[in-house]
């Protein structure tokens, strides 16, 4: 943490700047979604959930990659800041994955006539959600912060490596059956739709980085509180 003064000042100002940028950009994106983008011909207004669904899915995958980096970094260096990155990414991944799983069926029902299909993308997302949720549970069950960090990192690596294999396996599994629904077939997007989607992706990226920075900061505070309590000899100290 022996950074120069200007770097520190930027780091301190970062959450505020990100918050301001997200707060300005989010209503703009909503305006594009509801006012600028045209109605989809077949699905109608409900298709607009796609502008939230796709960016949330992107944020989920970003979280998993960052989780892998944080977990590997922690196991390699044993520095707490890597664990804070992994911890934050596990929770953000769970959050965005939940959003994907909630918005997906709302879109799927009018689009394909069913809430859910056991197709590769959906199944993989569900399994990822289970693994992330289990990781959060394991971390909260651990007796010490250090153990939580180690177990969380190992599970993070297992989960992140598993995702591509699960995807491929489910894809093959389904591929041998007749497919009634063809989700995610790349229909050409109208230019207004493409612009809206791009803006939404950018706004979600901002939102993701903002949440990540805030969660890491919170984790640093949690660690400081725990360290202070430990020094004070509080017997009630448990993992965060």
């Amino acid at each position: 943490m022996a950074a120069g003064d200007p770097v520190r000042r930027i780091a301190r100002a970062l959450p505020g700047c990100l918050l301001a940028a997200t707060a300005l950009a989010m209503p703009g994106a909503l305006g594009l979604v509801f006012l600028y983008a045209p109605d989809e011909k077949v699905m109608g207004a409900v298709q607009r959930i796609f502008y939230f669904h796709v960016p949330a899915a992107m944020a989920t995958f970003a979280s998993v990659y960052v989780l892998l980096a944080g977990a590997a970094g922690y196991l390699w260096t044993r520095e707490e800041r890597w664990d804070r990155l992994a911890r934050a990414s596990t929770e953000l991944g769970l959050l965005f994955c939940t959003l994907v799983l909630v918005t997906g069926p709302i879109w799927a029902k009018p689009a394909w006539g069913v809430w859910w299909t056991w197709e590769a993308k959906l199944t993989t997302t569900l399994i990822l959600w289970l693994l992330l949720a289990a990781s959060v549970l394991v971390r909260s069950y651990a007796d010490s912060r250090e153990l939580a960090a180690r177990l969380g990192a190992v599970l993070g690596i297992v989960a992140a490596l598993d995702v591509p294999i699960i995807y491929k396996a489910v894809d093959w599994w389904r591929g041998q059956h007749p497919q009634i629904f063809r989700p995610g077939s790349p229909a050409p997007l109208a230019p207004e739709m493409k612009h809206t989607l791009l803006v939404c992706l950018l706004v979600f990226a901002l939102f993701y980085v903002l949440l990540l920075v805030l969660r890491i900061r919170l984790a640093a505070l949690e660690d400081r509180v725990a360290a202070l309590l430990e020094r004070a000899g509080d017997p009630e100290v448990t993992a965060p």
């Binding site: 069950y141 007796d143 297992v158 294999i165 491929k168 396996a169």
Partner: protein, 236 residues
């Protein structure tokens, strides 16, 4: 202490010693196998009611039995891994194991080998039993079925022991193993069911070579991941 005495056994010997220890305990008590066999029988029973023999005959055993078998094996592997790691919690024997002058990855390999052999014993009982209960030709399917079962059981044992080690570190964590192991091993189950189906249909393994590749890749990947991370899970 002379340098020679502190060296301890080599990695392969250590692996075998750990596995043999677990197998000896298992052969003396049959605690794990008994629970696994009885549990699997209950699975057969439940599925026997869900689709009775007439349905099995109508659809063909190859449609239904692979799913039933791997459901039983999957849940049994949860029992087996919980038990294998639970053994080490009693009387601090994990500490004793960690003090052994061997590479920690040999501890992983040993525990996984012990679980693999216990699961193999279970399968040796369950496969003939399932052939009796669900009426399919086990002898004809056996040449293709045996490598399939072995390949997929290896992956189950590896991941079971790694994740079992994670959950034994938690005071109330044993219930978490199934939440971790079953989703994480989904690719293995899909592959196992497909390959078992092919074996039962007598199609030969060439038809499912890409699935076998997935399973083999899974086994190799998680073998190395476990070798690297097992020590980190166990250390204090």
């Amino acid at each position: 202490m002379p340098a020679d005495a502190s060296r301890g056994p080599g990695p392969l010997e250590a692996t075998w010693l750990v596995a043999a220890k677990d197998l000896r305990i298992e052969l003396r008590t049959f605690e794990s196998s008994a629970a696994m066999v009885l549990f699997s029988l209950s699975v057969f029973l439940v599925f026997g009611f869900a689709f009775d023999l007439a349905t099995v005959r109508e659809l063909g055993a190859a449609e239904l039995v692979p799913g039933v078998l791997w459901t039983a094996f999957a849940f049994s592997s949860v029992i087996g891994s919980t038990r294998a790691m639970g053994l080490e919690r009693q009387r601090e024997s994990l500490t004793a194991l960690l003090l052994a002058p061997v590479d920690r990855s040999a501890l992983f390999a040993g525990k996984a080998l012990g679980t693999l052999l216990t699961l193999t014993g279970l399968e040796a009982v369950l496969l003939p039993l399932s052939a009796v209960l669900f009426d399919y030709d086990l002898i004809g399917a056996a040449p293709a079925l045996l490598p399939v079962v072995a390949l997929h059981t290896i992956g189950l044992a590896e991941l079971g022991i790694l994740l079992g080690a994670v959950t034994t570190r938690l005071r109330r964590g044993e219930s978490l193993l199934s939440i971790l192991l079953l989703p994480a091993s989904v690719p293995l189950f899909l592959s196992a069911v497909r390959c078992t189906e092919a074996a039962m249909r007598g199609e030969g393994l060439a038809a499912v070579s890409s699935w076998l590749l997935v399973a083999a890749g899974f086994d190799v990947l998680y073998f190395f991941v476990s070798l690297l991370t097992f020590e980190l899970v166990l250390e204090d």
